[in-house]
């Protein structure tokens, strides 16, 4: 479904026509590529452009929330070969916003990348697209052809002395390629094993050259920011949390989907836009920023507004903006077991604590879920996560640890019940009904 509800739509303005509105002429009709034209015609300086993005306080939409303008300013000016790379390897469980951006408005991503390339002085760029959404890869290639034919890509773009070309690269089933240096390795034709940082991509990126890498949504926001001005964009949201944001709401709501709202919108409002709880059941817990973010129990979550600061204050992360909603039919041990399996399955395997620890975590949680838990297991799990966190090359080990710690912290009694009684606190029949897979009354 294209779009259900928004407040202050920017990124989603083009989504209303669904699959019929993605092509170049539609984009141009909504004012697309106007910002690129303006920048080229006015020969806007790179510094001014970056300053405008800084003003917007656009923070990276890939999960870490790093200020985009600041990141661009790290690119060495003099380097002859530089790259911009877009991270569309959306694989963080619960996140599906980039897929819709690529589906309904790929040209906003392209325009954002061209402008970024202009700002940092790159001549070549790649968009790394999650392998599982191959149709989006194909659509993006089509969009690139359109842009190239219209003179937005290639040599001397629109008659200026600025040249830039852009290509699509697809993944093929590895979550870790969402991590930016794993992604760069993957473009280089290797396993997506993250690199130790420093050096950061701005100094040593793709093919060892300075590289700016941003999330799809981050790039897509750029034309809008330049269109309305950095300050106006910032003011849409709240201080330190500029603009609007796409939230992917999944799980036990009536209308799962993407919702664009200004930063700072109350969670309650977002939940309401998503149609409220499925079957009117009670909210139990929310993972507010993708599966790597710590889970928050209902009461804490209901207090939050949807922005980096509020969610951090509650003890979790806004992350990628993936809001996983769980109602009272969920067994938290089983939910954690599934997440732990994911990190075990997706660890790239290079760092000892992650390679060995992710399997250990999964096996212990699996045991507990299957009635083989031991009283000392919860302490053991916490100790193993202690030994994993902050001790690896990338943050996947932390991502594997956060759910374990937060699930145990907030739902300890449920785990203890499981260990003691060797079964779920939530009746399996209730759990089964929660998914909505089976029509009421069917076996």
């Amino acid at each position: 479904m294209a779009l259900i509800d928004t407040i202050n739509p920017l990124l989603t303005t083009g989504w209303s026509k669904g699959d019929a509105g993605w092509s170049l002429k539609d984009y141009e009709a909504r004012g697309g590529y106007a910002q690129l034209k303006r920048i080229l015609a006015s020969k806007m300086s790179q510094d001014d452009l970056i300053a405008e993005v800084k003003k917007s306080v656009l923070r990276g939409r890939g999960g870490a929330g790093f200020p985009t303008g600041l990141k661009w300013s790290f690119m060495p000016k003099a380097a002859p070969e530089k790259y911009v790379v877009c991270n569309t390897d959306e694989g963080e469980p619960g996140t599906f916003k980039d897929r819709d951006l690529m589906r309904f408005d790929p040209h906003s991503v392209i325009e954002g990348m061209i402008i970024a390339a202009y700002a940092v002085g790159a001549k070549l760029g790649y968009n790394y697209i999650h392998g599982e959404i191959f149709d989006m890869y194909q659509r993006f290639e089509e969009a690139l052809d359109q842009a190239r034919a219209a003179g937005y890509l290639g040599n001397n773009i629109l008659g200026s002395d600025f040249s830039f070309d852009l290509f699509a690269h697809h993944g093929w089933g590895a979550y870790i390629c969402g991590e930016e240096t794993g992604l760069l390795e993957s473009i280089e034709g290797k396993k997506g094993q993250p690199r130790y940082k420093p050096p950061f991509p701005a100094n040593f990126g793709l093919y060892g050259k300075p590289t700016t890498i941003n999330n799809t949504e981050t790039f897509a926001a750029i034309p809008f920011i330049l269109g309305m001005g950095g300050e106006a964009y910032l003011n849409l949201g709240k201080p330190n949390n500029g603009g609007t944001k796409l939230f992917s709401v999944s799980g036990h709501v009536n209308r799962p989907g993407n919702y664009e709202v200004p930063m700072g919108t109350p969670f309650a409002k977002l939940l309401e836009m998503a149609g409220g709880m499925r079957g009117g059941r009670k909210l139990k817990a929310v993972i507010p920023g993708g599966s790597s973010a710590p889970v928050l129990p209902a009461d804490l979550m209901m207090e939050c507004t949807m922005d980096y600061d509020s969610i951090a204050k509650a003890g979790s992360m806004l992350g990628s903006g993936a809001v996983i909603v769980m109602d009272e039919t969920v067994c938290m041990v089983k939910a954690l077991e599934r997440l732990s399996y994911f990190y075990f399955e997706e660890s790239c395997g290079q760092c000892t604590p992650c390679r060995e620890g992710s399997g250990w975590l999964y096996r212990v949680v699996h045991r507990i879920e299957h009635g083989q838990g031991r009283p000392e297991d919860l302490d053991l799990l916490n100790r193993v996560t202690d030994n994993m966190m902050g001790k690896t090359i990338c943050a996947l080990a932390d991502a594997a640890a956060f759910p374990v710690r937060s699930f145990i912290k907030h739902f300890k009694s449920e785990f203890e019940y499981h260990i003691e009684h060797k079964k779920c606190l939530v009746d399996p029949e209730v759990q089964r009904a929660g998914s909505g897979f089976f029509k009421a009354g069917a076996a």
């Binding site: 396993k191 997706e346 660890s347 395997g349 604590p353 030994n387 902050g390």
Partner: protein, 778 residues
């Protein structure tokens, strides 16, 4: 320089250093597995985590660059907890089978587990099991023990130059492996055994034969190529069980070639000669030393008396020690012969008598890495000098431009700046073209002989590369030294280096290619060189350490002349059927591991060593045998009490480097005439056939580099001969001998050449390494 503090101690370190390097400077040990100073940084094991002031998380010492004023704590609670945590993870899936593991006693994991591991693990889940891999005849695997440090992978990719190992799959299922069905074939493969910090990769030949604490260890020097790698020879009950590198940054760094590491198996070959033997009435008899020595002395004295000393020829292995060569030449000269040579595979001796000094590398080995432009002339570099190839590979990665001029375009696994591949007869003219082009670029007049050549595009490209740098070097390989116009190549290399303001020299073929000159094991003014004394057969020969039919430029001719001779006295650690056919007396002498002696390596470095084991059976060190022979022949100057005394006399002291090293030739003339005939032979000496010891090393003989000889040609030449790759080819040399070999496509060969390995019993009958062949479909 930066100033930092480690555990309260202040020190100055170079910009760009990492914490682990800084700690090393201080002598502070930081536990680690994946880090290795010669390999790229992986930072994956996480064992080296330390605390850095102001950093919220522990930092990997191997990958964290130091900054000015940094305070590092390697033993703080944060650091030690992090290290212990990692150790626990490393052990949860490890089999902990130390008692049956070959690495037991020399395992980094075992050592560190004692310091950082907890006694009882809380891991009670199922352990991972990883299938073993077949890496070939040299390296054995037990992959369940692997801790995925990836050192071995990085070694093949970075040091050996071609990624033969990888880490496949991911996460906990990650496995180190070669490509499906492939083995590890690099000539440097054994180093991954040393690099593996656990018992996942161990030595196949050594496997289960001894525990490390049962072994005695002795320093030694490799008896193979001219590099003179430093060795640790490990023995048990006077048998060599294992050979390891002795780290010497100036020579072999911390590496060994497989040849150097595994050739020790030849020491216990069934062909070891353990008792003196004499041939009486066509029958071989084992006799006492005194009988054998008398017999040998008599035979030589008889020939000298009846035919004159010049009727005796001395063929010395270039792998013999300095002391052996020195005494052998003294003995021959005492008998009145000047026919002495150790340059058995050479065919051009025209520089003899004109040399300004001993030919050598022309620089220190470490200087090779400082050259920014290098031309390698006539060398199967990767197989003849694997560790020098390795140095050049690293140079190329740092930006040095390496070029090649040769008759075969073997993949050196080095990024080349330029290359010219030509038939052997064309090599001198090709090098002359490079000289002419460089002279043109530098605006200096070229030698008149050179001025006449027409510069090809390939030569021009080499010249441009060479002239664009600031320190150039020209290295003449074994093939250039064995070339029929070797002296011309040498003079041209000299001119080229002079024009470039650079250096030039020889990549020593054998352990004592420099030492042989120093020991005066070369013919005097009236003497015959190795080729001449075989072409013009002698009545008697003294053979020291060599198998002339395999070690000489023309093995067939050597065999014929030796067979014809009245008396052949052989001093050898091995016996062979050929020897039994031509020799009159076989004197069992010690291989390098059972004698003291000296090798002078290609840079002139004097490296002496002691015996690592007692001589096998009745074997005696050759220097002692020669001493006794000298005494029996009543020759003066044989009163030596030790090999050190021999060395002192030969060297005139005990220098670190020999003196009088000089590649110059007085009045050297250029011979650029090319007898361009079709089907020239290109003969390489395969790495595992170069000397009598390695030829008998059983595991090496099963390695990929020991494949049976073939007749290799490029596609055009194959077609011309009516052959397809894989067909049987009848190969003839000069009409007489013919043999059948499989034809094989080699796209790296120039037109009109056939590449057939020498030093191999199967191709011995073809005769000279440099020759014209006829090839047709068999």
């Amino acid at each position: 320089m930066l100033e930092i503090e480690i555990d309260g101690k202040t020190l100055q370190v170079a910009d760009g250093s990492t914490i682990i390097e800084a700690a090393h400077q201080l002598g502070t040990y930081i536990p680690h597995f994946c880090y290795h100073k010669k390999l790229s940084i992986a930072a994956n094991c996480r064992m080296c985590l330390v605390q850095v002031e102001k950093a919220p998380k522990p930092m990997p010492a191997c990958a964290t660059p130091v900054t000015n004023g940094m305070k590092v704590f390697t033993h703080s609670e944060l650091a030690v907890n992090a290290q212990k945590g990692v150790m626990e993870f490393l052990l949860i899936n490890h089999p902990l089978d130390c008692p049956i593991c070959d690495q037991g006693g020399e395992c980094q994991l075992q050592d560190l587990a004692v310091g950082y591991g907890e006694s009882a693990s809380q891991y009670q889940e199922e352990k991972r099991v990883v299938p073993d891999k077949d890496l070939g005849p040299l390296v054995s695997t037990d992959m369940t023990r692997c801790i995925n440090c990836t050192r071995c992978i990085r070694f093949t990719a970075e040091i050996a130059g071609f990624m033969e190992l990888g880490q496949s799959y991911r996460g906990e299922r990650a496995e180190v492996m070669p490509f499906i069905g492939k083995t590890v074939d690099t000539e440097l493969s054994g180093n991954i055994i040393d690099l593996c910090p656990v018992g996942a990769l161990t030595s196949k030949p050594f496997r289960f034969s001894a525990r490390t604490w049962e072994l005695s260890r002795r320093k030694s020097v490799s008896p193979h190529d001219g590099l003179g790698s430093n060795l640790i020879v490990q023995t048990k009950h006077d048998k060599v069980m294992r050979v390891l590198p002795l780290e010497n940054e100036d020579v072999n760094e911390c590496w060994l070639t497989d040849k150097e590491r595994f050739s020790y198996q030849g020491l216990s070959s069934a062909e070891r000669l353990t008792k003196p033997m004499v041939k009486q009435g066509g029958e071989w008899k084992e006799v006492d030393w005194s009988v054998a020595l008398d017999y040998a002395a008599h035979a030589l004295r008889d020939v000298a008396k009846t035919h004159g000393g010049a009727a005796i020829g001395g063929l010395l292995s270039p792998h013999a020690t300095l002391e052996e060569m020195y005494l052998a030449q003294k003995l021959l000269r005492g008998l009145g012969s000047e026919n002495i040579d150790f340059r058995l595979r050479h065919s051009d001796f025209s520089a003899d008598g004109k040399r300004k000094g001993t030919p050598w590398l022309g620089m220190k080995i470490t200087d090779i890495g400082r050259l920014d432009r290098v031309l390698v002339v006539g060398s199967f570099l990767r197989k003849d000098h694997p560790l020098i190839a390795q140095r050049l590979r690293q140079s190329a990665k740092r930006g040095a431009q390496i070029s090649v001029l040769h008759s075969a375009d073997d993949d050196l696994l080095i990024k080349l700046a330029a290359r010219a591949i030509a038939a052997p007869s064309q090599l001198p003219a090709m090098l002359a073209q490079v000289v002419k082009a460089v002279c043109a670029i530098k605006g200096v007049a070229a030698d008149t002989a050179v001025a006449g050549v027409t510069v090809s595009a390939d030569a021009q490209a080499i010249a441009e590369s060479l002239a664009s740098g600031s320190s150039a070097g020209v290295l003449l390989g074994n093939f250039a030294q064995q070339h029929p116009q070797a002296a011309t190549l040498q003079v041209l290399a000299g001119q080229l280096a002079a024009t470039l303001g650079g250096r030039y020299g020889f990549l020593g073929e054998a352990a004592n290619s420099v030492g042989g000159y120093v020991a005066k094991a070369v013919p005097g003014a009236a003497g015959l060189n190795a080729a001449a004394m075989l072409k013009d057969p002698r009545q008697a020969y003294v053979v020291v350490g060599a198998e002339p039919e395999l070690d000489c430029a023309d093995g067939a001719q050597a065999l014929a002349s030796l067979t014809k001779a009245a008396a052949v006295v052989v001093l050898s650690p091995f016996k062979s059927q050929a020897m039994l056919d031509y020799a009159a007396v076989l004197l069992p002498v010690s291989p390098f591991s059972e004698t003291s002696g000296t090798f002078v390596n290609t840079e002139g470095r004097v490296q002496s060593f002691y015996a690592a084991a007692k001589p096998l059976g009745e074997t005696r060190p050759a220097w002692k045998v020669l001493r006794v022979l000298g005494n029996l022949l009543d020759l003066s100057g044989f009163a030596f009490n030790s090999s050190e005394e021999v060395r002192a006399e030969a060297l005139g002291g005990q220098p670190e480097f020999v003196s009088s090293l000089d590649n110059g030739i007085d009045g050297g003339t250029l011979n650029l005439t090319a007898s361009a005939q079709s089907l020239e032979r290109v003969a390489d000496v395969p790495i595992h056939f170069a000397d009598s010891l390695v030829r008998r090393a059983s595991a090496l003989q099963q390695a990929a580099d020991s494949a049976a000889p073939t007749a290799r040609m490029n596609a055009a030449t194959l077609a011309k001969c009516g052959l397809a790759s894989g067909d049987k080819a009848r190969v003839g040399a000069g009409g007489t001998a013919t043999m059948t070999l499989p034809a094989q496509l080699d796209v790296g060969l120039p037109d009109g050449v056939v590449r057939i390995a020498a030093a191999h019993a199967d191709t011995l009958a073809l005769g000279a390494m440099s020759s014209v062949l006829s090839v047709e479909k068999a």
